[in-house]
């Protein structure tokens, strides 16, 4: 039983990272932009948040966790939205190829973040490992009274605030896309920009906004990873990139539905950590187990294509740039 609880809690932490990544990407893709720069944007969000907290803690005489939290949160959103802006400018205004631009952004984000991460580690001196203990503690704070309520407390209330924020964002995104007027217009832009244009919707503005806001949300995944998952440190082992690709896979698995992404993210977490809780696995079979999230994504892709359900398809103009023909 304790084993199961521990699997579920680590699955939720893991799932939260990729949930942010894919919520942002769902929003972006709904505007017809296939941004494969998600891993890079998560890198940008992670390093910006970490750097902001680091410099705050370094210069403040008595660092306060809440201040470090707000600073790093804003820095992460800003940096990842800038990443989104680069992508938006290249693909929407200059009409560059979306796949190439996205992949380039991933490489760029990873390189930049690890460069700064390495420098921060050097700056931190000592063991050569940066640590923003105060801020990280603020991110991981939970209400002990609630978390102490036995099993349900451990399962529901033992996480930092960002785990809950992800669910709130998912529910808001769900409402936004399905109920709100702006969300309706956004979906029309991603499905059929020419029709949206004819209906008086500013296609370029919608694409820009969706891409930048989406990148901001994706970047929070990187922040959560740096602050909560690895407790306010930096490591250049490339885990963020792996998680970023899982976030992209999760978009497909959730068939572009934010509400569905919530439980799918936790399922990915369970699948990813399952090897830890199965006794007697060899090194090789652990790696096989780690493949599971990707395997189920492929199975879902196959199932969706075979069922041909119109509701489970990607936005129709996903990956295509739009320009008005001769006017």
């Amino acid at each position: 039983m304790t084993q199961l609880i521990s699997l579920l809690t680590s699955a939720i932490v893991f799932g939260t990272v990729i949930l942010y990544g894919s919520l942002g990407e769902i929003l972006t893709e709904k505007s017809g932009n296939l941004n494969l720069g998600v891993p890079g944007i998560m890198y940008l969000g992670g390093i910006a948040g970490l750097a902001a907290a680091f410099f705050y803690e370094m210069h403040a005489a008595e660092p306060v966790g809440a201040v470090g939290l707000v600073l790093s949160f804003l820095a992460a959103i800003l940096a990842s939205m800038l990443g989104g802006l680069i992508y938006a400018f290249l693909t929407i205004t200059l009409r560059a190829n979306q796949n190439v631009t996205g992949l380039t952004l991933t490489i760029f984000g990873a390189g930049l973040a690890n460069l700064f991460g390495g420098s921060l580690n050097a700056l931190a001196g000592g063991v050569g490992q940066i640590s923003v203990a105060v801020t990280s503690r603020a991110y991981r704070a939970y209400i002990p009274a609630l978390a102490g309520l036995g099993l349900p407390g451990q399962l529901l209330f033992s996480f930092g605030f960002m785990a809950y924020l992800a669910i709130v964002i998912a529910l808001i995104a769900n409402w936004f896309l399905n109920r709100s007027r702006v969300g309706l217009n956004l979906r029309a832009v991603g499905e059929d920009p020419a029709t949206a244009d004819a209906a008086g919707i500013n296609v370029t503005r919608y694409k820009y906004l969706a891409t930048c806001v989406g990148a901001g949300i994706s970047g929070l995944g990187g922040l959560y990873y740096a602050m909560d998952y690895i407790k306010g440190t930096w490591s250049t082992d490339g885990t963020i990139e792996a998680l970023g690709w899982l976030a992209v896979a999760l978009v497909i698995f959730a068939t572009w539905k934010p509400a569905r992404a919530i439980w799918s993210a936790y399922l990915f977490g369970v699948l990813y950590w399952a090897y830890n809780y199965i006794a007697g696995l060899s090194r090789a079979s652990i790696e096989l187990f780690k493949m599971l999230p990707y395997v189920v994504t492929i199975i879902v892709l196959v199932a969706v294509s075979m069922r041909r359900s119109r509701e489970a398809q990607p936005p129709k103009s996903l990956g295509l740039s739009y320009f008005r023909e001769e006017r």
Partner: protein, 516 residues
């Protein structure tokens, strides 16, 4: 005094590149009337209406709405003036419901009140006799439902002036009747409607007045009550122009293709080609005339093995005359047809889509038909290279080199490359669709000469064309398609332009309907 005209367009001119799509066109629409805008393909009907709905901006001329001069720079401006257009290609988002499509892009509260939209849609439907289910997804709708939705959408946005671009092209006769009933209801409610069409029976059945365009120019208008089909056809096709195209007597024409009971249905199940029976002879040019979308494309593609046909259809190929052995082409794909030794050349309408690969060089495009020849696993570049060189020289293709991508060539040169390649395979049947569309006079004559040369060599040439003067002066026989049916085969030497025009507009079969 109340203004009599809802719309007046005066001296409208619109040029695309070198082509004058509209030249000093004049149009007026009275309040509460249905006006037909009649003309052949390429006569500039849709261009004119696109200027009224804000898609294009006129180069010259004035537009008056309710007597006031206006500038219409975007579809949004048109909406504000109460002008709504239903295009031939629907502007609807598949995965959204009818109500969501209607509400798209409109200002309003943060949340779409679907119930209120549904209510208003039902109101409009009840008023004019439409039926639209606001909660139905567009991908579940038939073509006629989508069209209805488009009309409701324009009404919902407050349109008083409706433009329908060939609305009946996609409808069954019953659906057309329903549409006409709704149009009459709208007129009686005070809406002004323009219907673009090239079907005379529809003009006579639905409209109060008719305006005729020909080759981008305004020909005239008249009250439908005073018009008859013959007068309208004459206005549509105009007088005969002499072109001096060379035409030899066919030498011993022999039956090469026997087309029997050829029927084609499209993906939506609509019959595009209806039980066509036609013989094609070697050593003659067979013209195919018809309003666009009457089955010309389907006919050529069915012969070429690109179009699935309804069972019972047959196209027999007889290389050595009517008594020789026959090869059935229906049910085969282009590759297996070629492998049976049938040398079928096809110059399609969509030159850079179906005919050539735009981003490949001249040599590369030659290779597309050649790459399977030879035994070596590597493609032979020598022969396509020589072939490209030869075509450039013989047809005087203007190109920097034979290694230039064809998309950089002008339209006429692209067509020369395509026709040259098809002829180089020494075909026994040569099919061309709108071979001279968009070409200048000189290049057009080059193409006519090439076709004549093929005819002399005993090739069976099929020429699908839109210019009746060319058809009448180039072709030995002219088969006229109308609504997917073969509506007569005329002798190219004796037929008159009016005769072809009548056959194209189905005068024979439709007189009853038109009078009703």
């Amino acid at each position: 005094m109340a203004e009599e005209f809802a719309v007046r367009m005066v001296d409208i001119t619109k040029t695309f590149g070198q082509v004058k799509a509209n030249h000093k066109v004049y149009l007026e629409l009275k309040k509460g009337e249905i006006l037909s805008l009649l003309g052949e393909n390429g006569s500039g009907k849709t261009t004119l209406m696109n200027m009224l709905s804000g898609i294009y901006f006129p180069d010259e001329g004035q537009i008056y709405i309710d007597g006031r001069e206006v500038t219409i720079a975007s579809p949004h401006d048109a909406y504000k003036l109460g002008i709504g257009m239903v295009h031939q290609h629907f502007k609807l988002v598949d995965v959204l419901t009818a109500a969501e499509n209607i509400e798209l892009g409109l200002p309003g509260g943060a949340v779409v009140d679907r119930k209120a939209v549904g209510r208003k849609v039902r109101e409009i439907c009840d008023r004019y006799g439409f039926s639209v289910d606001p909660d139905k997804k567009v991908y579940d709708m038939s073509v006629s439902e989508k069209q209805t939705l488009e009309i409701v959408k324009t009404l919902y946005r407050g349109a008083n002036i409706l433009i329908l671009d060939e609305p009946t092209a996609v409808l069954t006769p019953q659906e057309t009747e329903k549409l006409f009933a709704v149009m009459r209801n709208m007129r009686n409610d005070g809406k002004s409607i323009i219907i673009i069409t090239h079907k005379l029976n529809e003009v006579l059945a639905i409209s109060d007045r008719v305006t005729v365009l020909r080759k981008g120019e305004y020909i005239g208008d008249m009250d439908t009550a005073k018009a008859d089909a013959r007068a309208l056809t004459d206005m549509m096709v105009g007088r005969t122009v002499t072109l001096n195209i060379q035409r030899d007597e066919p030498v011993q024409p022999q039956r090469r293709l026997e087309i029997r009971n050829l029927t084609v249905k499209d993906a939506e199940g609509v019959v595009r080609l209806d039980d066509v029976n036609l013989d094609v002879y070697a050593g003659e040019i067979l013209g195919i005339a018809g309003i666009s979308g009457c089955g010309q494309k389907e006919l050529l593609e069915a012969i070429a093995g690109l179009q699935p046909t309804v069972s019972g259809s047959s196209v027999k190929y007889r290389p050595t005359g009517p008594d020789g052995p026959a090869e059935e082409l229906v049910g085969q794909d282009p590759r297996s047809i070629a492998e049976k030794g049938v040398r079928l050349a096809f110059v399609p309408e969509d030159r850079l889509g179906m005919g050539l690969v735009a981003s490949m060089t001249l040599v590369g495009n030659m290779m597309l038909k050649e790459y399977r020849s030879g035994k070596s696993p590597l493609v032979d570049r020598k022969h396509p290279h020589d072939m490209a060189q030869q075509i450039v020289q013989e047809l005087e293709v203007v190109t920097p080199s034979i290694d230039t991508p064809v998309r950089k060539l002008s339209g006429g040169n692209v067509q020369k490359v395509l026709v040259g390649r098809e002829i180089a395979m020494t075909p026994s049947v040569l099919m061309t669709a709108y071979a001279v569309r968009g070409l200048d006079i000189n290049t057009s004559y080059t193409i006519y000469n090439l076709l004549n040369e093929q005819k002399r060599r005993g090739v069976a040439v099929i020429y699908v064309g839109e210019d009746l003067d060319v058809l009448l002066q180039l072709c030995d026989r002219i088969a006229v398609l109308c609504g997917g049916r073969l509506n007569g085969v005329l002798d190219g030497r004796t037929a008159t332009k009016e005769e072809v025009g009548y056959h194209m507009t189905a005068l024979q079969n439709d007189r009853k309907e038109a009078g009703a």
